[in-house]
Amino acid sequence: MTQQLDPVAAMHLSDAAVSVELETPDMTLNIGPQHPSTHGVLRLVARVDGERVESVEPVIGYMHRGYEKISEVRTFAQITALINRIDWVSGFANEIPFIVGVERLMDIEVPERAQYIRLILTEMTRISSHLLFMSSYPLELGAATPLMYALREREHVMDIIEGLTGGRFHPNFNRVGGVKPAAGGGSTQKKVSMDLQAGFIAATDAAMDKVLSVCDELDTLVTGNEFFQARTVGVGVIPAEKAILYGVSGPNLRASGVNFDLRKHEQVLPYDQFEFDIPVGANGDCYDRYLVRLAEIRQSVRIIKQAVSSIPSGPLQAKVPRVLKVPRGQTYVRAENPKGEMGYFIVSEGGRIPYRLKIRSASFSNLSILPWLLEDQLVPDLVAIMGSLDFVLGDVDR
């Protein structure tokens, strides 16, 4: 027995049915911990409503290796080798704030040649870290070709780092009072100097030209590409005041229009002797973060070219006691890591071992803005935003 429905009532009925159907329960989507766009092992618990991300909760700690704790049972010389591994794409830059902190506690004046070598290697690390971003970020957005070109030129930079220090990723080249002066030779034998090897300056110049050429290639391949712009322009905007509130640092902060670079503000390395600009973005979106990094590569090339042409001669290491005992005291030293502000708070009780080592890593603070930034974004933009922040999970979890 069928009942004749009033057409108006039937319409309302169907409306109700549709709206009930649309009130879908939110889906919880686990992204990671094994996901290629997370640069390591980051798990994102995302509550998604269709394509829209309602909230995101990053779960970190999968890469925790306890560097702060293990530093309390290792000597200062051993810690230098360990902290290379915090942010593994910029190993050398990690050592700088720590070693400078120890030098300040011990009141050691570092020879100028050692400072220049430190500066050159730090900038090379910055180039290699940013070139890795240039290769992985378009890849996350679906462009596989820039990966090959950026990594190809990055290898030239890595070759120079390896030729000088012996390690591609983990140079372990800083020593308290300078850089590694000798290896494979002891006090009773002839020392093998670790000074710049022959051809270093020419090779560096050649590699820097190649880096500049790949920057131009990236300009044509990625920067001017409309697909890339469509994915990044206006996506994931971080306003300057939000960036400061969350403690975002490095290129991510400068992309939001804040002109803050520790290379200009802290006297950790002799940056004041070189001419370079600090690239600053305007809009704080993913595209600006990309542009700032690309411009930073060019500025780093500029610094390195100036530094290798004016490198002073002199000793590689200041006079330091054979058994390294750091006087009682505490200090905090921060420097501009490729990812942002990296700082070490060192407390010494006067022995060979620090009493406490607190590590402030850039990626951890940069990642902390993710829940705010990813709210109300689309799932495909999530990868674009996450990639543009350029964090390394080893740096997040330490």
């Binding site: 010389a77 372990n172 290896a183 002891g186 093998v192 044509t220 391949l221 690239p279």
Partner: protein, 161 residues
């Protein structure tokens, strides 16, 4: 910094695509920079930290390397030996002799601290890298194997004048 966004003023994806293709085309015509690894090999740089070689004659069992190692991956055992006096009526001297010198490369993190602290030049870096094993226990190189690596230690590179 120049803002190059929307260079052509339109949303037409074709010009950027063609420009990109030109770059790819250029790369297609150049020689690949990669090395066909198992068939061809790259010579590592002289300073490369590949494997640690031991000169057992120079070692005095002072244990400095084992103590300074951040991973504690060096195992040393030794004993004192009495050396008869060189001259008649001289004093009997004792000399430390090396019994065991193992480096566990499964633990080693290639920091080079041991090479640096050795006061008697008994340890050297060799750039050799082909010593992977199927069993992790095989990564523990005993004294004989470490001594074999000594042949592969290169001369230090000349320095920039």
């Amino acid at each position: 910094m120049t803002d190059t966004r929307k260079t052509n003023g339109s949303n037409n994806p074709i010009p950027g695509f063609i420009k990109g293709m030109a770059v790819t085309m250029k790369a297609l015509l150049t020689k690949p920079p990669t090395v066909n690894y198992p068939l061809e090999k790259e010579t590592p740089v002289a300073r490369a930290r590949g494997v640690i070689a031991l000169d057992p004659e120079a070692c005095t069992v002072c244990m400095l390397c084992a103590r300074e190692c951040p991973d504690w991956c060096i195992y040393i055992e030794g004993h004192k030996e009495e050396v008869p006096p060189a001259k008649e009526g001289g004093r009997v001297r004792t000399r430390a002799t090396l019994d065991r010198f193992d480096i566990d490369y499964a633990l080693c993190m290639y920091c080079g601290i041991c090479v640096e602290v050795c006061p008697f030049d008994a340890l050297f870096w060799s750039p050799e890298y082909e010593y992977s094993e199927y069993d992790v226990s095989e990564m523990l190189h005993p004294m004989e194997r470490l001594t074999d690596w000594l042949k592969t230690v290169p001369d230090p590179p000349p320095l920039e004048s």
